[in-house]
Point group: C2
Chain length 270, copies 2
DNA sequence: TCAATAGTGTCTGTCAGACAGTATGTG
DNA sequence: CACATACTGTCTGACAGACACTATTGA
């Protein structure tokens, strides 16, 4: 792949010098972020409460406009740092783009959605037009037909953000199956029990402990042993202190660790 | 998920009546299509030769601007029909969005890329500024480090289309593992040998015939038996006439059919 | 009968599910 | 000691890889 931009292709410099943009429709482009973490054993998402119309008072995914000189990825990283007040070092990946013509009643907006994963972040600070920003356990949002059904008091999300968040959850649930992404949810060093709690929270069902250990430890490069804690970091006293690990270099799991049968439907993009 | 657009949220109608768009950066939004099919046992992609600057004379993915009233999905379907001259009935899915600020030297363009799969399409007809449109076996493009290396005469693609096509190929290769997508590449009715040739072409290595049969036939809803051909459609004479099948309703494969070890690296989004 | 393609049977190793058991720490 | 947590062993069934085998057609 040779460079796309201002390269030396025959006649092109002259062409570009005389080029005037045609009248193509103009769009505003935003990024929306599904920032996920595990808090208190629950998969949680960062939501802001909107101060302004439209959808004033509704909960929404944090996000903002892409600026002239930046890519969507740069805009997502910038918004993430504005929202959390610190450089973001976790996992950030593009989810998909939402472009229904009437998804924003103000104007034509195309939104490029991202998923971010992080171990326990500092409590977020509000910014921009967000009146409030906090973590919500996803089960309190009643997005998917999870056991227990939609909580009666489940808040409604602004725009098409319920759909975006639903897609983000499906992406993360399925990526835990065939990647080592789970380890991005925990602080280092971590124990195998910590890592297993990530799967339990994301899949809403804990894999069998012994089988989980066998799989994780036999996957070369998933996690790296780090020694035993002098007297374990947290946790209630009592019990044998666990071995500690950090993230390894492996990215993919082969073969994958499939989640239990439930929640495996709904095709959707990978 | 209740409707995003012109709903009756308190105070919003008044707000929208007085709303004037702020000065957010304006972007052109395009769709780019990686249209894939199997031709002569080779995975092939539809490419156009550009007539205009920039990248005049280069090969490019077909695509075009998203219009004011349509979603990216609608634009992709429209371009596909313009390009092939018929209503497109195959599989079309969003790949990802490319937004590097300098990916197009003319102006700021965000491109939403799609992957389309179809059984042998009519030979394409050129349209728009495409001087020529034809199928290219992907192995002739030398995109990935495939055995044989990059052909000396491999053409260079315009813009960042080599990257987009590379991502599209990885998407399709991996989706064959855990979905029934392969069946979207063949005309109905088809034989098991036809279906296996799809895997052989996409993965560049044929799964063992007996194991392949066992897997496909034991996956309920992957394919449906359709009876035996009176005297097989095509193929060289001689040999036992095969059973015929059509696509079933199943979408996902559980557990997946993993491709052989090669080509399973390069993390990349799902 | 031969060539060619379709289709079957079966052995083997790998691995996940299930679950019972052992080890090592604290009070 | 009891108790809690960490960790191990092992039986079983499902399934993929490998490959030898049989079946059915046309020439």
């Amino acid at each position: 792949m040779t460079g796309p931009a201002g390269a030396g292709r025959p006649g092109e410099t002259e062409f570009l010098a005389g080029y005037r943009p045609g009248d193509y429709p103009a769009f505003a482009v935003t990024v929306d972020l599904a920032v996920l973490t595990i808090r208190g054993g629950l998969l949680s998402v960062l939501l802001v409460r909107r101060g302004d119309h439209p959808f004033a008072g509704y909960l929404a995914l944090p996000g903002g406009f892409v600026r002239s000189g930046e890519s969507a990825e740069q805009a997502a990283a910038r918004e993430l740092e504005e929202e959390t007040g610190a450089v973001f070092s976790g996992h950030l990946e593009q989810l998909r783009t939402y472009s229904d013509p009437d998804r924003d009643p103000r104007m034509r907006v195309v939104s490029i959605a991202f998923v971010a994963l992080a171990p326990r972040l500092a409590d977020p600070r509000p910014g921009g037009d967000a009146a409030e920003a906090r973590w919500w356990p996803v089960e309190d949002l009643g997005l998917d037909g999870r056991p227990g059904g939609r909580p009666a008091d489940a808040p409604e999300l602004a725009f098409d953000h319920a759909r975006i968040l639903g897609d983000a959850l499906e992406r993360v649930r399925s990526k835990l199956e065939y990647t080592t992404l789970a380890a991005r949810f925990v602080d280092e060093p971590f124990t195998l029990a910590d890592l297993r709690r990530v799967y339990a929270a994301v899949w809403d069902s804990a894999p069998d402990l012994a089988n989980f250990r066998r799989k994780v430890l036999s996957t070369e490069g998933f996690i790296v042993e780090q020694g035993r804690s002098g007297a374990a970091a947290a946790g209630p006293a009592g019990g044998r202190p666990p071995l500690l690990y950090r993230r390894g270099h492996a990215v993919l799991l082969h073969p994958p660790m499939l989640r239990p049968a439930a929640g495996r439907d709904a095709a959707g993009p990978p």
